[in-house]
């Protein structure tokens, strides 16, 4: 932390700017916007997982009270362009998705028609009156069924349901397996999950017929990329569309894609020339927004008798659902690219198959690569169990030390400025690992079953353009910002990203204040409007701090340079070397001491705007800076999670007794916000490990369509999370920022998963499919007892 401590503003827990409005109910979320005369949309959704649409009868709905319009896929096909997902990636099938389906529906909850009425109650009433004649088709509800010969085609334009298949071999794993002391196999699976932001999706579209301009209000993580998509699919110029995001009630990856409902609402506003709004209910959110994580994974490792890794094979099978709103290889491919994480290994092969099924389309959910760490760390535990070694010892034997860095992973990913071995030791010490086995033995004598789980995470946080290119994913990793010093000296700044609760207005003000040399209270951050913010890639991955915080810091540094150049000119100095800006005052170094001058940022701004002839020769009048920044190919944070659980073999209940995270996420903008992200991410990981799963029956009917059935953790399920901060800066990024916020999910899936399996080892069984529900655990314990 030596470098970090030289910062004036970064790293301070300043009061969060957003809080006052949110605590007092004066925040403004999508549904709080007052839009005079707005009509309400409601969608007619398919009750079947897979069915041909024979006919849609809308007359009764059109005549219902308050109804203004009822439209179907045929109308939308005239008004909008389909979504073509066809990046040139080997093994990826191109797909095309209509705005609303015309011929068949592909999952329960798929769209069939849209009703527009005077209010939401009328719209829902009328949606009930739309009669659809369906011919049911066989539903494909699992990866195996999707890939079986003769399976019904989910997308009839494709030759099979295998939408992506990728395979790579690095080094010579085959040779390693032939010479191994032992080959260890392990399996991992995750249930389908969903994001559950407490604010569901929604939007409001206002078409200005006079200006031929669409203003689209939507809670989104990515205002500019959404505008690009929306304009193209409405056949409008990008200058005819403004996207404005109000406060967002949580995103977690669900508020990135342009959804078909949103496009429909925008198209209808334009056609009807009336404002239209839509907010989905919770059932729609659970069944039809976006799903994630349904993976089945297998690893094979070649190891020595001492547990040294020689070779590794990974197989991923992913259920992507019915439609591709993202390239189908995207999520699984990142898992494969970073799987080996903190370990020294070069001989590695992976095989990824992604299948279409009759379920809601999948997308990124906080840590799209979430399963990575459980797979790698569960594999390390499987090796330890197979060889009768201590799991911590197996990790130590293979883990990269600082002397090994920079290290090129077999996939070419470059690791540097990470500290996995340090976080491992710190986390083990914090939880008292050395004493655990005796505690475990003692507890067992009194009939209690304890387990401990370790999970070291190397978290890919900030994707630079070079990573996208290497992964074959279209996209840029850059972010852009402007900083404006107004004539009064007030500082306004903006970046292209949008906050969904992270506290960007606070943390980014710190980045600007640090770069510029002003009190953070003087800085205002403006986010969420494509008319105000520069084009940026938005809030996804864990890129906020490094990409947006970083570019704001760089823009602020450039503004500081201009301020100091003006100051040097006024002071008659040839250079700015002996000048600095602190709390908005120019300071001058005289005889090794910094002394305040009588020049202030406000005074310099007045010169820049009102007396430009007094500026240094050649300097532009005004005081605005714009910068764009493309981060390194990939920025990594790292952490080790260790947790202790107790399980009750009679009821299957798992309780988390202690939970420790030792984390290195580089220069911290705001420690309290970072801690909040760690808590939230761990909670989501605990949900995935123990509780959350979307359940479907054999016909593809979803059985978890309420929050009483789809179980997100409550305050009773999330333990106190003890955090050991061990931050070291990244040498390649502005201010040494690394980014974070998804690793907690990765770590919790792995630490909880491994801890439960450590406790189950007494029964000689292994749980392989999360969530580890009471039924599953009790069943495994019984099976173990019978077998034993």
């Amino acid at each position: 932390m030596t470098e970090a401590s030289s910062f004036q503003v970064l790293g301070r827990p300043l009061p969060r700017r957003e809080d006052y409005r949110l605590l007092t109910g004066s925040g403004c979320y999508l549904d709080d916007l007052e839009i005079p005369g707005a009509l309400h949309a409601c969608f007619v959704r398919s009750p079947h997982a897979h069915a041909r649409i024979r006919a849609i009868v809308t007359e009764a709905a059109r005549e219902a009270p308050g109804v203004v319009a009822v439209v179907t896929g045929r109308d939308l096909a005239e008004w909008t362009m389909p979504l073509r997902m066809a990046p040139p990636i080997e093994g990826l099938q191109p797909t095309e998705t209509a705005t609303l389906p015309q011929d068949k529906v592909r999952f329960q909850g798929d769209l069939v028609a849209c009703v527009v009425a005077r209010d939401r109650y009328f719209a829902e009433d009328a949606a009930e009156l739309v009669e659809v004649d369906y011919e049911e088709l066989p539903a494909v509800t699992s990866i195996d069924a999707a890939l079986a010969a003769g399976a019904a085609l989910v997308d009839e334009a494709l030759p099979s349901n295998l939408v992506a298949h990728q395979h790579a071999v690095h080094g010579d794993p085959q040779a390693r397996f032939e010479r191994a002391h032992r080959v260890v196999e392990a399996r991992f699976a995750q249930a389908r999950q969903t994001h559950v932001p407490i604010e569901t999706r929604g939007c409001a579209a206002v078409w200005d017929e006079g200006r031929q301009h669409l203003t689209f209000h939507v809670g989104t993580q990515v205002p500019h990329p959404l505008r690009t998509q929306l304009a193209a699919r409405l056949k409008l110029k990008e200058s005819q569309v403004s996207v404005i995001s109000p406060d967002v009630g949580g995103g977690f990856g669900q508020k990135i894609a342009l959804y078909r409902e949103e496009l429909t609402v925008a198209a209808l506003a334009r056609q009807l020339k009336r404002p239209i709004r839509w907010r989905e209910d919770r059932m729609e959110n659970l069944i039809a927004a976006s799903h994630a994580r349904e993976d089945v994974v297998r690893t094979r490792t070649a190891v020595t008798a001492e547990g040294t890794l020689l070779g590794l094979e990974l197989e991923i099978r992913e259920d992507f659902g019915a439609y591709c709103f993202f390239p189908a290889n995207y999520l699984a491919r990142v898992v494969a690219m970073i799987l080996t994480g903190p370990y020294r290994i070069q001989d590695y092969a992976y095989d990824i198959k992604v299948a279409l099924t009759n379920k809601c389309g999948a997308g990124p959910m906080r840590a799209p690569m979430a399963i990575t760490s459980w797979v790698m760390e569960g594999t390390m535990d499987a090796i330890a169990r197979a060889l009768g070694l201590d799991p911590a010892e197996v990790r130590r034997r293979n883990m990269l030390k600082s002397a090994d860095l920079p290290y090129e992973m077999p996939t070419g990913e470059r690791l540097e400025d990470v500290t996995p071995a340090e976080t491992l030791e710190a986390a083990l010490q914090a939880i008292g690992y050395d004493g655990f086995r005796s505690r475990q033995t003692e507890a067992r004598q009194s009939g209690r079953h304890l387990g401990i789980g370790i999970c070291t995470v190397v978290e890919s946080t900030t994707y630079g353009s070079a990573f996208y290119k290497a992964a074959g994913i279209p996209g840029s990793g850059h972010e852009s910002a402007w900083v404006r010093i107004e004539p009064s000296g007030a500082v306004n700044a903006s970046a292209g990203t949008m906050s969904t609760g992270q506290g960007y207005e606070t943390a980014f003000a710190q980045a600007v204040a640090e770069g510029l040399g002003v009190d953070p209270a003087e800085v205002t951050i403006q986010l969420g409007s494509t008319d105000i913010s520069p084009y940026g890639m938005g809030n996804r991955g864990s890129r906020g701090a490094t990409a947006a915080g970083g570019v704001l810091y760089l823009a602020a540094c450039a503004a500081r340079d201009k301020a100091l150049a003006i100051a040097a000119h006024r002071l008659g100095l040839n250079s700015t070397e002996s000048l600095r800006l602190r709390a908005g005052v120019v300071e001058r170094e005289i005889g090794g001491e910094w002394e305040a001058s009588d020049l202030t940022l406000a005074g310099l701004a007045r010169v820049a705007y009102l007396d430009p002839l007094s500026l240094p020769e050649g300097m532009e009048p005004g005081f605005e800076v714009h910068r764009a920044y493309d981060p390194p190919p990939m920025t990594y944070s790292n952490a080790t999670h260790v947790c202790e659980v107790e399980l009750d073999p009679e009821t299957g209940l798992v309780q988390i007794l202690r939970y420790v995270v030792a984390e290195d996420c580089g220069t911290v903008l705001h420690p309290q916000l970072v801690e909040g992200q760690q808590h939230g991410a761990v909670a989501m990981g605990i949900g995935g490990a123990l509780y959350e799963g979307l359940v479907f029956d054999a016909q593809g009917q979803i059985l978890t369509a309420t929050l009483g059935d789809y179980l997100v953790p409550t305050a009773c399920e999330v333990p106190v999370i003890e955090i050991v901060p061990m931050h070291t800066p990244n040498r390649r990024t502005p201010a040494g920022i690394k980014g974070m916020a998804e690793g907690g999910v990765m770590g919790a899936l792995g630490a909880v998963g491994n801890a439960v399996n450590d406790a189950l080892a007494a029964f000689a069984v292994t749980a392989e499919r999360q969530p580890f529900t009471p039924d599953l655990i009790r069943g495994l314990a019984r099976q173990g007892r019978q077998d034993g």
Binding site: L23, G25, H195, P197, D247, L707
Partner: protein
């Protein structure tokens, strides 16, 4: 459905409104009275985001029709505004007990009432009471800490 005229008593003020008997209290507060601090998260009584006080007791406004609460006093998050932040709101701010803020008004109202009945709560009691409010951002830890802090301040 024919509309009916009712009087809603909200945050100490009387409002005459004309609405359908099927209109939810949450929708009436938000749409008729423009009190949009009451957030709607699930409309089936699980998430707790829409919690308001009815004669001082927390209720889920998505599970009540507006016509059911005539004659009772409704307090929404806006009703707490009069004297700046309450000790609980201040503690949530200081302890970083909110992120996106969507669930926050429901939590504030639930615990304004609960702390009156439980002035010296244990952490386990706080967590148990908080389990009726879902938060997807914070992992609850700082909310629990803030509630404990507000309780401690209430005792001094």
């Amino acid at each position: 459905m024919a509309k009916v005229a009712i009087t809603l008593q909200v945050n100490g003020e009387s409002h005459e409104v004309l609405l359908e008997p099927r209109k939810l209290l949450s929708d009436a507060l938000r749409e008729e009275l423009r009190l949009t601090g009451t957030h709607v998260g699930c409309e089936h009584g699980v998430c707790g985001a829409c919690t308001v006080l009815l004669d001082g007791r927390p209720v889920r406004s998505c599970l009540l029709f507006a016509v059911q609460v005539e004659g009772q006093e409704v307090t929404t998050i806006e009703g707490l505004r009069r004297n700046g932040l309450t000790p609980l709101q201040r503690a949530l701010h200081e302890e970083h007990g909110l992120q996106c803020g969507f669930c926050t008004p429901g939590i504030v109202l639930t615990f304004e009432a609960w702390l009156r009945d439980h002035p010296e709560p244990s952490e386990a009691e706080i967590r148990n009471a908080l389990s009726g409010n879902l938060c997807r951002c914070t992992g609850y830890q700082n909310i629990v800490r803030a509630i404990a802090k507000a309780a401690a301040e209430g005792r001094t």
